[in-house]
Symmetry: C2
């Protein structure tokens, strides 16, 4: 059993059991992987994959177990390499962030730009997806950090969640819309009269928007859902209905529309930074976190990761940190 064999094994498993594809991913030849896989199977004494005549058919139950442990093993190998790279002040590498479009588009750019100035050789990969997908990315080890939002407490799925900031939703309509001309505070009942344009997550029954309406005994009708705040704006402009989206997504370019704060109508949300305790952070990852959370001391973060302490962070509200750039946008 060698590290190479296990790396190949995971590459094959993660390539849909296609050895040729896996070989490309690990920059090796297909016969090389084929042979190493066979050797590993010989050493363990059982097959890891069932074979069809033409290709690998499926992972055996024992193979699943082995893969599970191999993932931890290789993750530890990466941890050791991360320790070494940090110590060498080797500031190049990759950083995978799993998050929603809104975070990536409106909240993170400033922090990532600053990170790029400080660490020009770090390649940042943004993996867009819903909250569940982001958590899964983190769990699979594809992403080092995930940023998601909840309307309540920290998501239970991740083992270390740090509150980044709080935010509220806004109702977005055209200037001519009757909701824009109301001379009294907006109510849910007002909104319920129009079809909604909102995030894809609204389709889920646990959606806080959906729950707010049902709690108020109101029916809601959805015109369009999208993952993308820009798409929501587009469809609001096109007159599909009333937009409900995150306040972060409102920029000066949207002055043709009217964004009505919905603080009092819909529950306040918290954006969370999710980490894995069992992964060593590269220096630049930690730099990004401290940039996102200046009030969090680097030592506190270290302790939270290693000693399993729960972090006591009192996150600011978005409107208190937002500037044209967004969070993290201060001089180096």
């Amino acid at each position: 059993m060698t590290l190479t064999q296990l790396r190949y094994l995971l590459a094959i498993a993660d390539s849909g059991l296609n050895i040729t594809l896996a070989a490309e991913k690990v920059h090796a030849t297909q016969p090389g992987l084929s042979k190493q896989l066979k050797q590993l199977e010989d050493e363990l004494g059982f097959i890891l994959f069932t074979r069809g005549a033409r290709s690998l058919e499926s992972i055996t139950p024992a193979g699943e177990k082995v893969i599970e442990h191999a993932r931890i093993l290789l993750a530890e190998a990466n941890n050791i390499r991360a320790i070494a790279a940090n110590l060498r002040r080797d500031n190049q590498g990759e950083l995978h962030i799993a998050t929603t479009h809104t975070q990536a588009r409106y909240a993170l750019p400033a922090a990532l730009a600053a990170l790029n100035r400080q660490f020009p050789n770090v390649a940042v990969h943004l993996t867009p997806g819903g909250d569940g997908e982001s958590i899964a990315s983190l769990a699979r080890g594809d992403a080092e950090i995930a940023i998601i939002s909840t309307a309540g407490n920290a998501p239970s799925a991740a083992d270390l969640a740090i509150p980044l900031y709080r935010w509220d939703r806004v109702v977005l309509v055209s200037k001519q819309h009757e909701l824009a001309k109301l001379d009294r505070p907006l109510t849910l009942a007002d909104i319920a009269k129009f079809p909604l344009v909102s995030y894809e997550s609204t389709r889920e029954p646990e959606s806080s928007l959906r729950q707010a309406f049902s709690k108020a005994g109101l029916e809601m009708s959805i015109a369009v859902t999208a993952r993308d705040a820009d798409l929501i704006k587009t469809y609001v402009r096109a007159g599909f209905g009333v937009g409900v989206l995150a306040e972060m997504a409102i920029t000066p370019e949207d002055s043709d529309l009217v964004a009505i704060p919905a603080d009092n109508l819909l529950p306040r949300c918290t954006a969370w930074l999710l980490l894995r305790r069992d992964r060593v952070l590269r220096d630049y990852t930690q730099a990004l976190i401290t940039r996102l959370l200046p009030q969090l001391h680097a030592l506190e973060l270290q302790r939270a990761i290693s000693d399993g302490e729960t972090l006591k962070v009192n996150p600011l509200h978005w409107r208190d940190i937002a500037r044209p750039g967004a969070i993290g946008d201060f001089e180096i």
Copy 2:
């Protein structure tokens, strides 16, 4: 970085930084380890040990971190090998049990004998030690299972504790001793009049024996402490004082002495089986556990290990399972 290099690294760290000794442990030559260590250091880009002229002096802080992760990594490699060995029905191997002398001498022999009948090629290693040492053995990975006792709840240090059985203490005196002739139930005050012969753990301030006395407002004086129940008996016979020890340690051979139950004087103890969730159990280890705990279903154990469920076991009392042989002594 290879598995071999990391294995060598740990061997050196665990041999007091003596490469020659480490080389013997891993059945390799000293220059081999020396060179692999150097290669690992070259690859990581920093030294793992500070060198004196004549020998390795100390582990560098970075080295400590690397070693920590290397332990997890190699443990996972062993997990994969364990999965393979179980699947191959390869019923040979080793089983390290960290426990107290009393458990090893009086509670376990029957179960271990039965285990040996079922798995003749398994070498069982009993590592005697106090409760703290046993927990440390388990944590370090030297032992697969630990068996310790507490007077209260499950020890918090281990991540999976299963109650094995409950037991009480007895007061042990010679037949001529005045406590043997009392025509009323024994009290703590009676015992307090004599110097005690008991376990080494009695020296600790948290000792349940010590606490029972201080709660009753009584002073206790200790004549002899030992780890070994046989030694306690010996010193009781020699007239050093009154013995206080586990009921399991009383055998028919002790009929020259009088063992007075102390159920009502001292808190009842629980013997716990301690496991690590992150270690794959060999079939024979699981067989031992089911032998020690027939009421625990094997599937329940599996679930407890993998899913982190808390086990609901209602342990029997020692006197209800004890026979001349001791627990686990039933036909195969």
